[in-house]
Symmetry: C2
Subunit: 438 residues, 2 copies
Amino acid sequence: LESGHPDEIQTAASSYNAADLADFIEYTGAEDDAKGLALLQSLPADQQAKVFGYIEPDMQKILARLIPKGALAGIVTDMSADERADFFNLLDENQQHALFQSLASREREDLLRLASFEEGTAGAIMTSDYAVVSSGMTVASALSLLRNTAPDKETIYQAYVVDKSHKLLGAISLRNLIISAPGALVDSLMATGLVFTRTDTEQEEVARLISRYDLLALPIVDDDERLVGIVTYDDAMDVAEAEATEDMHKGATVGRLDTSFKTASPFSLYRSRVQWLVILVFGNIFTGAGIAYFEQTISAHIALLFFMPLLVASAGNAGAQSATLMIRGMATGDVTTRDWGMLLGKDILVATGLGLTMALAVMVIGLFRASPAIAMVVSITMVTVVLMGSVIGMLLPFLLDKLKFDPATASTPLITTIADVSGVLIYFSIATAVLGLG
Amino acid sequence: LESGHPDEIQTAASSYNAADLADFIEYTGAEDDAKGLALLQSLPADQQAKVFGYIEPDMQKILARLIPKGALAGIVTDMSADERADFFNLLDENQQHALFQSLASREREDLLRLASFEEGTAGAIMTSDYAVVSSGMTVASALSLLRNTAPDKETIYQAYVVDKSHKLLGAISLRNLIISAPGALVDSLMATGLVFTRTDTEQEEVARLISRYDLLALPIVDDDERLVGIVTYDDAMDVAEAEATEDMHKGATVGRLDTSFKTASPFSLYRSRVQWLVILVFGNIFTGAGIAYFEQTISAHIALLFFMPLLVASAGNAGAQSATLMIRGMATGDVTTRDWGMLLGKDILVATGLGLTMALAVMVIGLFRASPAIAMVVSITMVTVVLMGSVIGMLLPFLLDKLKFDPATASTPLITTIADVSGVLIYFSIATAVLGLG
């Protein structure tokens, strides 16, 4: 591809996939913008838009500044409606204005409509390139309509049947159309009781519906139940992957990253990490203060310090386990707030079992390493803190959800910090009660 | 549905989705097996297999014991090839034998072939219900072939073109077929340079390919490049979701759960959690031993204890952040082992920045709370441990990957435990060096 020979470029363009070509342009463009641009422009016109849609937002922005206005308008016109809207939202106001001027009115209206939806909703990720047939059409005319409009549609494998006011009545698959009698009416063949949702539905929910019902595409309707767009399975896969990544990052108190880890700048990585690290330092001051408060007990029984890390860490680890089970269950839709009571009961049962197992282990260590009295303190503490850690890990995600925060914020480090301070207080309180101040 | 009136059941069956009907049967069956069975059997024959495929493995097992042998054979025959193989693998040997006897030879062979692949590979999740046309066919005959075989196929939207020895030559979409001239040869229209993979490819990699290239289905070939199956996008979505869940659970040291968190028994939850909790307790003994080793320094400067939790926790938190960024990047295929050097360099830069920021914060606290000497010890320790934590968090997933372990095992609690012991040693070593033994 690098050679620039038209023949070789044609060969490469036909034998490589758009996603791979996009990767190659990104890779080349990262070293030399102009070279990346040249590669993109050397592709056949009909492939440029498709490949451009696969390029990462950062590189799209760089290329957008370099591509001549007319060529950019051509690429943007050929892009699918949802990718076009995403790209449009990346640009600054001047660029948006310039691009907008150079588009045809059909693409303009489309852009305005799609760009008006809030980020992260069904409206923002849907495409308006869906296939539609009218109620009352025959199979033959529906097929010929689909055949003629196929090049502009995201998918024609699922066509939606609408009435005169564009209200969604049902769906008919291309599979069904091609095996049915040409004279039959689409109304008699269409599936009703469709799964659909509204433009303001969150994108995670959209992905969940598509995955649950194994849909090719999910129709999106407005407040009057008129069909306004579809979200296809491939966009749902991207949403689900991005959500899982975001939840995992939250689970380690990593803030939002706009690009991937590999391409993120050191400063954006710093920014995504520093906030929580500092907050957690202040949380740990309470743990330090807890230790300082019990200095007398500790000085009298310095052997207690040996067991502090394992008790406190066990509380945090048990809490992290419960929280993660809970958060992931809520994210996949497996667990709802209705299940609260049942799950808490089960968690208390499991945590008691875990606490007793661990108490037994540390009692043995306590007997060997210190005294029977300390062994007793350590085992009582273990049962208590494992139970406490688990219950906190269980309740915090629920509580955050009730308060309209993302449950995934109840991350392992946050649970650990809360468990640390509670663990220290419980440990030394029990120790002071059993052993006295020395 | 519960009323049992045939009319109402027909209405319900046609207006509810198979996934919802399956949920309802699971819900009813959990309270009363026989009632769940009655519901399933009250559905029209053609829907029973589809709904049964959506039912959770545990309930499938229960129902399989109750359904009369003949009826079960009917359902199993109607199931898609991949769901049938999954179900077959759930049964014990006697049941497998009985079921096998009652199937037709076509389904038997299919089962044997699919059941022979190792779990977690492309072979185990693929279906043999793919649409295939022969090289040399015209568009018209390909269309009529697809039309006639449509009911048995998982998807006909993508048909694969094979030669006489069933070698994969290319693919042609139904979209392309219906817009092309009936007399054209499929060979002239088919897409070549297909993305495909082998039966022993890991299922995560299959899901990644489907998501990356926005495929409807990924063709799977054997060692001689003969087409043996396809994996469709909906199965890829399920795999990606299950993998993300498993990775998150590993990130909190939760072991493999065979069912969802909600339906898991207390004992299976206990088992999935206890192992790592106990291992981590033993890890923390080293931290305790580290503290015990420095008892003299601690006794002389008891104020040091106040800062211990925040220093040690910061190391763990920074490590958890780096590890999570790394692990998720590796899971999504964004980061490969080739990027090792570049990412380590970037991480050291970011961690140094983070360490300096946090050192500044704790220096202020140290000056207020203790002495300039302790403030100095605390800030030097902070930079050192944050850097160390980040580098460990970065390297451990790489190392595990090189040793053929799953990088996701480098969980937050594991990193925290390693950071704890290193943090304690570094802190008190620096303190002893700067402050002396008192």
